[in-house]
Amino acid sequence: MRKKIMVIAILGLLVPLFASDGNAILKQVERRLIGDLAPVDMHATMIMTIVDSHGNKKIREIESWEKNNKDKDDWRVMKFRKPADVKGVGFLVLADDQMYIYLPEFHRIRRIASHSKKESFMGSDFSYEDMGTSGFSKYYEAKLINETPEYYVLELKRKPEADKPYSKIKMWIKKESMLPVKMELYDNSGELTKLAEEVVKKVGKYWIPVKIKMTSVKKGTYTVLEMTNIELDKGLKASIFTKRFLKRR
């Protein structure tokens, strides 16, 4: 009986310990994604290949600028280069709740509210939310559920007050880069809805995800997002992340 009580007590101590490890590991990941160990800024071309359930492919090309801001939300500008019917459309993200879209046909910039983040990004398997850079620890409680010589496996559970689409995320983190290489994303009913697989590469002094495959498990579709022409820490000016720049070609 005493032994049983001791085992329960140890387990009781270990669970918060694992949770604490989980959150600490997640913080390490975030330092590399959006924190002090992430590039200060990035300019890249994103090639997006959308594959439907019949294997048909569609290609999108987007030019992207990102700035990693200390103590506030990151900034991002995206301009669509291909195909012709969306060419020139641009997005400016200054905060989680301050986003703009530029429609070149009407020379008009419209503010868009954050509810639009639920929508699919350009008809791909990514949502605007998935494309965001707001991190995880603010919205999820992490628990370390497994560890191998190569990976940490975390389970992230959504905090009650968080307005996020995924109730649970299972995340495989490569120890070498301390970045996620695989994520299972679960919907509100607890079912697996998407699977993200990432190729992480060292560019200069940074580890960064250069290729992400997002699979919609139920629909049988997937999208591959590949980063090319990557430029890091080029000292992108604040004037890039403005409506003025958004209207430029």
Partner: protein
Amino acid sequence: MRKFFSLMLALIILLPLMGETEISGRIKMFSSLFLSDNVNGQFFSHESGEFAFKRIELRFQLQGDISEKVSYGARLDTFSSPDAIFSTGNSGYSIYQWSFPEAGSLGSPEKTEPFEINLYEAYIKVSDFLIKNLDLTVGKQRISWGTADKVNVIDNLNPVDFANFLTFDPDYFNERRPQAAFNFEYYIGNQTKLQAVWLISRQYSPLPQGFSYLMAGQRGFYYSVRKEKNTLNNTNFGLRASTVVLNTDVALSWYHGNFHFPVLYGLGPVVFYGDSSISEQQLFFVPTGDTVPVTGYEMYFSYPALDVVGLSFSGEIASVGFWGEIGYYMPEKTEGFLNMGMGPTLSFDLFEKGYFKYVIGADYTIGVGNGVYLNAQFVHGFFDERDYSKEAERLLNLQRGQFFGEIENYIIARAEYKMLGDNLKLSLGGFVEMGEGTSYAFMPSVELRVKDALTIEAGAFSVSGDRNTKFGSFNDDKICFVALKLDF
């Protein structure tokens, strides 16, 4: 003005030789069909199954950079309208071919031609012009003000394209025409902008072919329009300051210009001696020979000066987007008159001194599948409406429920749902007109992206409700359309 545009066109042709140029464009086929009979309709005369409008559109767009700080853009629209005139009305006079859909005349308002060409925009932009953070754009350009979704009450620099309004082509619904202007934009920090625009002429909305009939001919009146002389004194300008306050985009603006639509200010008797020619001022005329006097009534229209002070804002609360525009309209003092030939001429002020138009709206995406996008706006004052004095309303018949009549209220809403990887968009739009009576419009549509850059859109426009309201008068003009678009 013609010289100015010729120069602009020459520049646009030469500019691609000087730097990197991108050429893009669109081919579009649009066709609409009446779904109901309305042989003696107010605006259209048709039977069910008749084509309403057919048009093939080819658009060319050039964009390029001459240097890091100098860029340019131009768009040339060409239209071919097979069977442009679908309905000749009942008068038997060829001149009375008034049905609205024959309009669609972008390049040549008030005329219908099987082929039209229009320099939609042509501009040169210089960044950091003279001083840092000052951009100057010169040429024919679209300068959009306001935060509302399509029904902007402070977007007054570019007039509404009324020539295309009743084609029921959704691409042209409430769209505005670029104007020749000098546009200075000065940026302060990352979120604040001061803007000064000098429009080098007055702004006039292009009107459809049947407009003169609608305004005068149907009532057996003659019709004349007074326009101000094209002088430096009669040019317009706009000023605007915009910034972000408490995470809300806000802007203050001032437009000094003119009404874009003709304003009826008088009605009186007139005697003409018959002549088969039609002068610039006399859009309607019955040819009667050389010496026989014709008596009748003439309606007098003008484009009075107008100042609009505007406030706009947009932001979000708990993920719900919101926006609003308030415009305070100050028309110049305009004297109206009425003389029916019996008794003295009655004179009166045409407008109230100042009046408000406003729009407030919100949008949200509810989480069904990919999400259903909802958008709703309350509109006080459609683009053609004004607040007239009581006398003008009564004596010139400018009440609510008519085009160019007194201000009314509207609720405009739409829901959109995208599926099949955004390749299929289902949309249900509509509005409620709340005037003396109430009318309801429904505009369902389906848009299928067949391939990248190739879309087919099909939809309908149907109104029900009180026939004495502005849109209720389209009760028997139910229409469906199909449009095929290829972007390149």
